[in-house]
């Protein structure tokens, strides 16, 4: 599925965020966040490349170099599980197992309805309430099975 923005809309977003190579990562993250499937599709990549003066293949190099940028469609909601040492020590793997059971997918996969993608993330500093997950920019800690189900249901009914 293609990005639902028109070429003009994509270029407007590029302009708003300072259309130059120096701001490239910021621009790409912005576009990825605004995309309904949380990724940079080929059309968007080519438009940005041309605007900032990169070749298409150099743009693809950048997109695949950074772990935070994706070139394949993901779910509407990205559930990121911290797998850094403190969260690992406080049993992040149990959180992963609950998510996998609840959503019926493995880490890195997307649910067939296109709603959820589960992935790992590095430490974001909330070790005292670990293990933590991050959804839509918000970090949730002190997780229990009930709490995780509650978060997922909340998103399903949003």
């Amino acid at each position: 599925m293609l990005n639902h923005f028109s070429d003009e809309q994509i270029l407007a977003i590029v302009e708003e965020n300072g259309a130059c190579k120096e701001n490239l990562l910021y621009i790409l993250l912005k576009l990825q966040d605004l995309s309904p499937q949380n990724y940079i599709d080929e059309r968007t990549a080519n438009l940005v490349a041309e605007r900032v003066g990169l070749s298409r293949v150099q743009m693809y190099d950048i997109l695949t170099f950074y772990a935070m940028l994706k070139t394949k469609p993901r779910g509407k909601y990205i559930i990121e599980v911290c797998n850094s040492s403190p969260c690992y020590a406080s049993k992040a793997d149990r959180v992963t197992a609950i998510l996998e059971k609840e959503l019926g997918i493995k880490v890195g996969e997307t649910t067939p309805d296109g709603m959820f993608t589960v992935s790992y993330m590095p430490c974001n500093g909330y070790c005292e309430i670990g293990p933590v997950i991050r959804v839509q920019g918000r970090t949730h800690g002190n997780l229990t099975e009930e709490k995780i189900k509650e978060i997922i249901d909340g998103l399903r009914n949003a």
């Binding site: 080929e42 070749s55 293949v57 150099q58 190099d61 695949t64």
Partner: protein, 579 residues
């Protein structure tokens, strides 16, 4: 960091003092005193990347192992290239590379020419202590010219360097990182759907078997052995000065006679010369140029011999297609004439004829398969083989080029002028055109037939010529990155040239993507010298003096740019979408 090239630095390498300009890389300083430091990713004509880590040396300054290809003499003490530590480290690096490489040298098209294979032998690698982590990925056969077998890629980046920084086409690049680090097109699109022009400079740069031309030798053998087929072969100018490389002849040797003899032994019914078709191209292109100048046609007119270059214009500068000469390339003119004029003259049904081309090029494989290249009524050129593929066939036949007698081309499509021969080097088409156009316009022979201003290796060469009071300005360039500079100038209205020669590959066809492996700029220069030697020794040095060309026009074509010429020898261009 900036280095002053006028400052000389003296260091000791393996105890031998060497004095080189500041900023010289250790690997080049060592080469100066005859010490070869092994490397896989280093290439004298390409930017340094230091990816492969094979060129490790030790120095007293850092007391660490360092790569010789990217570290400079200014920042090292005494260098040692052969300590136990160095040898052990290089060996380990090679073993690690081999642990991720298929061990199928026997069936690899690069075997015998592979730089990794050479290093494995030089370092006496027998049992690899590392377990293989190799996984095979399917070969990519998505175009008629280049095969990519990425299982064999060692990620040296030489192809990317050639594509992005030599040609500026940016069709292939790096992907991902760490263990997933790989080379390919944007979004893994098929090669021919990208900006790729199939020039094959990536193939020429690849040290291993990852990149190769699509092999058509078996099809040609089948045609040769088919008693119902009349198989004729044409051979491009730049092949004769390069094929000797694959048989141990000195670089740039002119091997025309022995090559013709070998091709006859392979079983071709007739052995013809693309140089003849180059003479024909000059007749058509020269006439077209004069017509454009005299009738306010689109100027500058740009040559159209180089199929990679034509692909580039169609894909990247489609607005400039009217500037391209409508002349077909010599190879395609040959095909059209062979299957009409020659076929009729000898009462051979064109359906029974097979035209094979030996080209220094991989883009020619795509060119001959273009749907518009069938003006004889059938496909004009059936198969294109690279210089390397011809060398392979000669070896298969058990012949040694160095021991072949000298033989002459067959006629009528085998007689050529020296002007046709220099088509194989950058500046050659221009020089050949000037030699004839000057005389066509002024009625006088140019005092000096050597237009040396358009010769040589420079990025952009310019010259002007007085034609009965009109000053005709010309430019010559090769390599697409240089061509881009010229095109942008023309687009911006900053150039007032009348005629431009562009060759896709740097140096022209002598450095084509189908030439023997391990070609360098220095070797290309020797091949250029070889072609000028052929020119000097030719009976005729101007295309329009070639008696067989006269005969062709008298008996068959009529006049240059006439009705029949337009039908058979001219073409049109189509804008192509780029992914």
């Amino acid at each position: 960091m900036h280095f002053d090239p006028n400052k000389m630095i003296t260091i000791k390498i393996d105890g031998i003092p060497v004095t080189v300009p500041s900023g010289t890389k250790i690997i080049d300083a060592a080469a100066k005193i005859g010490i070869k430091i092994p490397s896989l990713c280093h290439h004298p004509d390409l930017n340094v990347r230091a990816f492969c880590r094979v060129c490790l040396v030790e120095d007293t300054w850092s007391r660490r192992l360092k790569t010789a290809c990217n570290n400079v003499v200014d920042e090292c003490g005494d260098v040692f290239t052969n300590t136990p530590r160095v040898r052990e480290a290089r060996k380990t690096v090679l073993e690690l590379i081999l642990a991720n490489h298929p061990q199928d040298c026997l069936s690899c098209p690069k075997s015998g020419k592979c730089e990794l294979q050479t290093l494995a032998q030089e370092y006496n690698l027998r049992e690899n202590p590392f377990d293989s982590v190799f996984t095979r990925v399917p070969k990519q056969l998505d175009n008629p010219a280049i095969v990519r077998d990425m299982s064999k890629c060692v990620r040296c980046g030489r192809c990317v360097e050639a594509c992005q920084n030599v040609q500026g086409t940016n069709a292939i690049g790096y992907h991902h990182r760490s263990v997933d680090f790989n080379i390919g097109t944007a979004f893994n699109n098929p090669l021919n759907s990208t900006a790729c022009v199939l020039c094959g400079q990536c193939v020429a740069a690849c040290p291993v078997g990852a990149l190769n031309e699509k092999d058509d030798t078996e099809k040609v053998w089948d045609a040769i052995h088919d008693p119902n087929k009349h198989v004729v072969v044409q051979v491009a100018p730049a092949v004769r000065v390069a094929i000797g490389d694959d048989f141990g002849l000195p670089k740039g040797s002119v091997a025309t006679g022995s090559m013709v003899a070998a091709m006859r032994k392979l079983g071709f019914d007739k052995v013809f010369d693309t140089n003849f078709a180059a003479d024909l191209t000059i007749m058509e292109e020269g006439t077209e140029l004069l017509h454009r100048i005299q009738n306010g046609g689109t100027l500058p007119m740009i040559t159209s011999c180089s199929p990679g270059w034509v692909n580039y214009v169609e894909k990247t500068y489609p607005d400039m297609m009217p500037n391209l000469s409508t002349c077909k390339s010599p190879q395609q003119m040959f095909g059209a004439i062979a299957k009409t004029y020659y076929a009729e003259k000898n009462n051979i049904p064109k359906e029974n004829m097979v035209v094979v081309s030996i080209m220094p090029c991989v883009a020619k494989k795509y060119e001959c398969a273009r749907p518009e290249m069938n003006d004889s009524g059938v496909q004009d050129v059936d198969y294109v083989l690279t210089t390397r593929e011809l060398a392979k066939m000669i070896r298969t036949r058990g012949l040694d080029l160095a021991k072949m007698p000298e033989e002459e081309f067959d006629n009528p499509l085998g007689l050529a002028s020296g002007a046709g021969a220099i088509f194989g080097t950058s500046g050659g088409v221009m020089e050949a055109a000037l030699r004839s156009v000057y005389e066509m316009v002024t009625g006088k022979q140019a005092g000096d037939l050597d237009f040396v201003g358009v010769r040589g290796h420079e990025a952009i060469k310019e010259a002007s010529l007085d034609l009965n009071g009109t000053t005709v300005k010309v430019a010559v360039t090769s390599g697409l990155k240089n061509a881009k500079v010229l095109l942008d100038k023309i687009r911006a209205g900053e150039a007032d040239y009348h005629f431009i020669e562009v060759m896709c590959c740097p140096g022209g066809c002598v450095g084509g993507g189908g030439q023997p492996f391990r070609t360098t700029a220095a070797i290309k220069e020797k091949r250029m010298d070889g072609l000028y030697k052929v020119d000097m020794k030719s009976t005729y040095r101007q295309s329009h003096k070639n008696p067989e060309i006269h005969k062709l026009y008298e008996d068959f074509l009529g006049e240059p740019n006439g009705h029949k010429s337009h039908e058979l020898l001219h073409t049109h261009y189509t804008q192509r979408e780029v992914k």
